[in-house]
């Protein structure tokens, strides 16, 4: 039984390798021929290219034409850097942009055979769950592990990586520069000296984030004070807070990142025992975030920053 399964897997796994080997030789010809309408000289990049990803130096031999993304953030980045037309499959959590070819592939529990069945020549993922990087490596598919960003620069780096690996270096540079400028402008304009306190909610039990997390650092750009930072380190970057504590801390701003998953809003907040008197509710400073945008580190971080900036400006006024 096990032998049979291995044989089948070997057969399935072998195919793309052969296909990949065959494609690598006539690659320059193919890359100039296929994306002809999109000014090939400027966007094609140079191959082979080596990218420093979370799994070390990864060499991509030729411009990939079948990219599979198993990370919603990577999907957003790929489309932002102009690699959208090369993406053939994205995981079941990748909801943006709308034209992303969503499949039932899972990034949480990746299935090597199902991924290989899409005949990828580049796979991007955020977690090496169940040895998936090694499994794909065995069949010669280049894999970029782009783990969750811990600071904004990681987002820029990952976008640059993805641009290089997909042959969209120039477009990626543009996208990163635009994102960086927009974020710099937004944060520069914000009042930072008010020392406003805030509470960012991940789910209603209530889980929050500390300033050590990616999302926590975003708030730091506005000089906001995170009430969750009082949680001791052993509680981790995503502590489950005490409801009592949140009420007592009475933050100036409440950001809800559980609006889509759990239907939270100002009204549901007010109905929680003891929470009705929060001044953020009274002053209408409960900010409804898009759960997805608030949990990804892709180009839409700029949208999140804009939302936060507007709320801070209103609260400081």
């Amino acid at each position: 039984m096990r032998l049979l399964r291995m044989a089948v897997a070997g057969l399935v796994l072998g195919l793309p390798v052969l296909a990949g080997c065959g494609a690598s030789d006539p690659a320059p010809a193919a890359s100039t021929a296929a994306p002809a309408p999109a000014s090939p000289a400027a966007t094609a990049g140079t191959f082979p290219v080596t990218v420093q990803a979370g799994n070390g130096a990864v060499t991509v031999a030729a411009r990939p034409s079948r990219v599979v993304s198993l990370s919603p953030s990577a999907t957003e980045m790929l489309f932002a850097v102009g690699a959208g037309p090369q993406v053939v499959a994205v995981d079941d959590q990748s909801t943006f942009p709308a034209e992303a070819p969503k499949t039932d592939l899972s990034g949480y529990k990746p299935n090597a055979e199902a991924i290989i069945a899409t005949k990828p020549d580049l796979v991007v993922l955020a977690n090496d769950t169940g040895g998936i990087v090694a499994a794909l490596g065995k069949v010669g598919v280049p894999v970029l592990l782009e783990p969750a960003a811990v600071k904004l620069d990681d987002s820029y780096d990952q976008m640059t990586d993805l641009g290089a690996a997909t042959g969209n270096t120039a477009k990626a540079q543009e996208a990163v520069t635009a994102m960086r400028q927009r974020i710099d402008t937004l944060t520069a304009a914000a009042p930072k000296d008010k020392k406003l306190t805030f509470y960012h909610e991940l789910d209603s039990t209530p889980y929050s984030v500390t300033s050590t997390t990616f999302i926590g650092q975003i708030y730091g750009l506005f000089g906001l004070v995170n009430i969750a930072d009082e949680a001791p380190d052993p509680a981790g970057g995503y502590p489950k807070l005490s409801g009592e504590f949140v009420v007592k801390a009475d933050p100036d701003l409440v950001f809800l990142a559980d609006t889509k998953c759990c239907g939270q809003n100002k009204e549901t907040l007010a109905k929680r025992p003891g929470w009705g008197g929060l001044s953020a509710i009274a002053k209408d400073q409960v900010v409804l975030l898009d759960d997805d945008i608030a949990s990804r580190w892709g180009p839409r971080v700029a949208d999140l920053i804009e939302t936060v900036g507007a709320a801070v400006a209103k609260a400081a006024a």
């Binding site: 959590q93 899972s106 949480y108 529990k109 789910d203 209603s204 039990t205 889980y207 009430i227 969750a228 009082e230 949680a231 001791p232 052993p234 509680a235 502590p239 489950k240 807070l241 005490s242 409801g243 009592e244 504590f245 949140v246 009420v247 007592k248 801390a249 009475d250 998953c261 759990c262 025992p273 003891g274 009705g276 008197g277």
Partner: protein, 334 residues
């Protein structure tokens, strides 16, 4: 058991309740808490000097939470004592018969498929009761005569099966794993509506179980002796099982899966007050309530303002105790 014993146990419970009310992440002045509580008593008027926020915190968050912890702990411990008596097995606990696995499965299914927070307790209640019923039905039909050993084995089989179903169900929406695990590790909410929800089940199951203390003492001698004394052993077992399962199901519904209370507390009580169920049952109720109030106190203050899952706290205290009991009972065996 002399009345003094119950008095001491009740006093200990009151002390635990007060400790639970005084401590918390928000830090309300102790004097204010005590005065506010006194103020609520009939014929007493005191000015607690608390701010409206502190007052709201105390009566909307802390009081219901402490009461809920007491109810859940009392029910789990009492149900544990009941199960141990029915199965004549000192390690039987409320989860042995498929209650935990059933609740875990249905709660997971609810989180994965419907995702309405308010329905999770209801689903857990149904699952806990359903798991026990399934184990009981299987134990009756599978084994000749339905002895307690057969029932225990059926419970283990049902538990494994339902756990597998739960593991399968949680693969449907892997992004909700965190919420599923948060529920499984247990946590006491702070909501008056949950207190009101649980209270009737707690009252009914406690009344039935406490009334059966003598019957359990008779059963512990043996079924033949029981029938000689005019006790229908099979029927009595069923009634006690139902009451203990009802208590478990409602405790699980509001608290999630909180392990070890049902094993640890009845044993501690037995060591202190002897083995008669007429004493073990009521004292388990009181001690279980106090124990879980303290465990919850640790859960919400050890890393304050972050909270620990209460199941982690009870297991931390319970697991070593469990092993100690295991060793003690092993050496006592012939």
């Amino acid at each position: 058991m002399r009345p003094a014993g119950y008095l001491a146990a009740s006093a200990a419970l009151v002390a635990c309740l007060l400790a639970g009310l005084v401590a918390g992440a928000a830090g309300i002045p102790v004097k204010g808490v005590l005065l506010a509580l006194l103020d609520r008593l009939p014929l007493v008027s005191a000015d607690p000097g608390l701010s409206p926020v502190e007052y709201g915190l105390l009566f909307q968050l802390r009081v219901p939470r402490v009461l809920l912890a007491a109810l859940v702990g009392g029910m789990l411990a009492m149900a544990g004592a009941g199960y141990q008596g029915v199965f004549r097995n000192p390690l039987a606990d409320p989860y042995l018969l498929g209650a935990a696995a059933g609740a875990g499965f249905t709660a997971t299914l609810m989180i994965v498929l419907v995702d309405v927070d308010a329905l999770v307790p209801l689903a857990a209640f149904g699952g806990a009761a359903g798991g026990v019923l399934l184990a009981y039905a299987l134990g009756r039909t599978a084994g000749r005569g339905g002895g307690t050993a057969t029932l225990l084995l059926a419970g283990i089989a049902v538990s494994s099966f339902l756990s597998a179903l739960q593991a399968f169900a949680q693969q449907i929406k892997v992004d909700r794993l965190q919420r599923i695990y948060a529920w499984i590790l247990g946590g006491i909410g702070s909501d008056w509506s949950q207190v009101r929800m649980v209270l009737p089940y707690a009252a009914v199951s406690a009344a039935v179980l406490l009334a059966h203390g003598r019957v359990l003492d008779v059963l512990s001698v043996g079924d033949d002796e029981a029938s000689g004394l005019g006790v229908n052993a099979a029927r009595a077992r069923l009634v006690i099982l139902c009451a203990a399962s009802l208590a478990t199901a409602s405790a699980v519904a509001v608290g999630g899966l909180i392990g070890f209370v049902g094993v640890v507390v009845p044993h501690a009580v037995r060591r202190l007050a002897g083995g008669s169920y007429r004493v073990v049952l009521p004292l388990s109720l009181l001690a279980g309530a106090g124990f879980l109030v303290l465990a919850d106190l640790v859960a919400r203050t050890a890393l304050a303002p972050a909270e620990l899952p209460i199941g982690v706290v009870t297991a931390f205290v319970g697991a070593p105790f469990f092993v100690a009991v295991l060793r003690a009972t092993r050496t006592a065996d012939p």
